[in-house]
């Protein structure tokens, strides 16, 4: 297991280098004169020259990449071109906001997805199974941004049940501690504000959770069906174990490996989907940070933001793979 972990960590190096080359290219592959494009068409020649100097665009490419990579290794993500602040400092609260949203969505997706899949497989070919799988199929086919818009229209504007924008009521003043508002409000012990934070979280989290939930439900169902046919489940039933025990303990445990893989893979979908969800719900996360940066042609922010999200994604996938190997000892990763 240790050898496998070390090997996987080493395999991460070329991927990270490749990722940095791609994000490096975001600024340097802009067709024409990048400095002119970044400055905008109406910029004065002095401003263009300034940007060229600032980004080191007048030096040969390999030197530019060298200093970019050196900066990254020292944790320097560059400065935002609009706010002039270091991106590494600026991005923290945005990351926390995205993490809170993604965790909430993942919780919803796993809880409902796994249970829906279990119930469907347990009552295979019943009306419940058919309708659950129909819902799951439609769920996979709904674009997250449209679902978000429909939720806003129905639950926020027409029914007025939940707020449609932001993380907290703008009248509430709170000094963030962890920037996870749900945790912060608990730390302050303010239940009213906690409830407000949760209410703000529901709509974007549900929108973001729909696709992964549908996929998790389908995978859970099919891997449960496969395991349920096996001999030891028949034995467990024959021993007279209760149905609940058979389904949730014996079957689920063995059906969990494909489910776990899908959950890991879906985290990527969630990070990508967060860009769209955050744009719709004005959720101040990395996605919105990036989207605003694109609009303002703040290429350094686009560059670093994408690199950070991709790095997080790669690390999560690595962790999932490691858990996978740990749960199922039949997978012999050490030997090739």
């Amino acid at each position: 297991m240790l050898a496998y972990t070390v090997r996987r960590l080493f395999m991460l190096i070329p991927v990270l280098v490749g990722m940095s080359i791609i994000t490096f290219g975001i600024v340097h592959m802009i067709p024409g004169d990048p400095a002119q494009t970044i400055a905008g068409e109406k910029a004065t020649p002095q401003r263009v020259e300034e940007i060229r100097k600032e980004l080191g665009l007048d030096e040969p490419l390999y030197i530019q990449y060298g200093s970019y990579a050196k900066g990254l290794l020292q944790g320097d993500l560059g400065k935002s071109m609009t706010t002039k602040r270091p991106i590494g400092e600026e991005i923290g609260p945005f990351l926390a906001a995205t993490a809170e949203l993604v965790f909430a969505a993942m919780f919803i997706a796993v809880f409902f997805g796994v249970n829906l899949g279990i119930l469907s497989s347990w009552r295979q070919n019943s009306w419940f199974d058919y309708s659950a799988m129909m819902i799951a199929l439609i769920g996979v086919s709904i674009p997250v941004f449209w679902l978000g818009l429909m939720e806003q229209w129905l639950f926020a504007q027409t029914l007025d049940w939940l707020p449609s924008n932001g993380r907290l009521d703008p009248r509430i003043q709170m000094e963030p501690i962890t920037y996870f508002y749900v945790i912060d409000t608990i730390l302050y012990g303010d239940t009213e504000v906690l409830w407000d934070a949760v209410k703000h979280l529901i709509l974007p989290a549900v929108a973001l959770a729909t696709v992964p939930m549908a996929i998790i439900a389908r995978i859970t169902r099919s891997s449960m069906l496969e395991v349920m046919r096996s001999d030891y489940i028949r034995t467990a039933r024959a021993k007279g174990l209760s149905e609940f025990w058979v389904v949730y303990k014996h079957t689920l445990k063995n059906a969990s490996i494909p489910v776990l893989t899908v959950i890991g893979l879906q985290l990527g979908t969630l990070l990508g989907g967060a860009v769209l969800t955050e744009t719709i719900f004005s959720w101040p996360g990395v996605g919105r940070y990036l989207y605003t940066a694109i609009g303002e042609r703040d290429y350094t922010v686009v560059q670093s933001g994408i690199l950070i999200v991709a790095t997080i994604f790669v690390i999560i996938n690595l962790i999932v793979d490691l858990i996978y190997a740990w749960i199922d000892p039949r997978i012999q990763y050490g030997k090739k």
């Binding site: 991927v15 975001i26 086919s141 860009v275 769209l276 994408i306």
Partner: protein, 293 residues
Amino acid sequence: MQTQTVDIRNKVVEEDKPWKDFMRSFLRHRSAVIGSVIILFLILIAIIAPVLTPFEYSAKSNDLMQSPSANHWFGTDEMGRDIFTRVIYGARISLWVGFFAVIGSIVLGSLLGLIAGFFGGWRDAVISRIFDILLAFPGILLAIAMVTILGPGINNAMIAIAIINIPTFGRLMRSSVLRIKEEDYVLAAKAMGMKNGRILFHHILPNCWTPIMVQGTLSFATAVIEAAALGFLGLGAQPPEPEWGTMLADSRPFIQTAPWTMIFPGLAIVLTVLGFNLLGDGLRDIFDPRMKQ
């Protein structure tokens, strides 16, 4: 002489059979049939769009934001344009973008996967690392990055979607090739001194298409969503093109007063994606009976 003729006849009969088998199981598979009916319906609508509506998709009128009526089935938008017209013309754009993006990623991905799987060695190492790196980015994020570089527009969105899907097909092709190149008939061809190119295109490639076709159908669905997402973010098709995602972005300010401006383009996306998902699931079940529940 006599026996030889019989042999050839038998051969012909055997070659015909897989296709018939396929059609039989295809027609029996409910989701495959429903999916292809939806897709054919959309293709038909896209082709005969000008016949179905008396309006031009970009023609403005004084009927601003009217709710659905006999005259305007899906209502009108903030510029008085007929939404039904825009939605059916939008099918042209989405199917077009989806098709070319998927074909692009199939061609490039298969080629890279073929080289990696067949030749192995350093070529495999380099190509597989490229796939790893491309897969390291959440797809839509990489597409956003690429369109940021190339500049917004429907063609650049199509290129970006094609690129982000390359590793999916590449890996699929690579694993098929790795399996097939150990088959006896390939080893026999090699032993007979057949050239690599001939082995690749005559023996290996034709036997790799099934998983690529299944994945291609499913990827069509995601490509449609990705194109709409880029359009929604203002990075894909530009106004006044009647692209579904762009229409959703345009209708956002009127979500409360004219919800039909966003309901119908959204439903069109869902229907298209559902069609390709159903067909893709169906094809997978038919070709890979182990997956069938």
